[in-house]
Subunit: 141 residues, 2 copies
């Protein structure tokens, strides 16, 4: 049924993490809609940190989608005044994206809503939560 590099639990742990991701994805549309965003725009805003401008190509890589798709996403976000395109000084082919103050505020609101812990997290004791943080950090590198 599944590869197991570290015993039978490997598989189950990963299965549960994937199940968790799917469940998480299901409530993103509603959450995004409250801020007049689409899920794709949320993914983009999540990656674009306020104090760290990013070239469009790098964003396409992080989203693992085509560069032309990023063009359209950025068109719509820029027209709403949430971010700016600016030609890079070193390489004028490159367009660097940076959040406007408005965009930074919207991003903060988005992240706060997304990461506000659900009541089920209370089922884990503080020590368990510490252990969970420790493990997830290692899984994410």
């Amino acid at each position: 049924m599944c590869a197991k590099p570290k015993g039978p639990q490997s598989c189950e742990a990963w299965q549960l993490l994937v199940r968790f991701s799917f469940a998480q994805r299901a409530n993103l549309p509603a959450l995004a809609a409250e801020l007049e965003l689409s899920p794709a725009q949320c993914y983009l805003l999540n990656l674009l940190e306020p104090d760290r401008p990013m070239p469009m190509g790098q964003l396409a890589g992080a989203l693992s989608c085509d560069a032309s798709n990023v063009t359209g996403l950025v068109d719509r976000l820029e027209s709403r005044g949430l971010l700016r395109r600016r030609a890079s000084d070193e390489d004028r082919r490159v367009k660097v994206l940076s959040l406007t103050p408005l965009g930074a505020r919207l991003r903060a609101a988005l992240l706060e809503r997304m990461t506000s812990p659900p009541p089920t997290l209370g089922r884990l004791s503080p020590e368990e939560q510490r252990a969970l943080v420790n493990m997830l950090r290692r899984l994410l590198e």
Copy 2:
């Protein structure tokens, strides 16, 4: 920054879980494409278990999307012979979906690829993995 029903770790644990979900989402398109599926079709197939037919409306609820969207998704999957629509006997307004043998095989291949654990899981000891399974089970109910 975030609500903390159980101390400062609550927030971080959840943040990491959300980050994990986002990272996970990024490699779904490529994985789905190997099976000639779209991400949305993967979500649908994941929910439709081979031995448990499901009404379209219930599927729309589980995907948290509009019913008319399910119509289109099902149209395409049905035209590929992956599932069948059948009018329910008790209530003929209801269309019950069931996987064909072909659809069940594709679903199995999909789930196997999605849940095959990445090498980073090897960073957790077997006891840690057991603890992780235990915690995720409680988070997911």
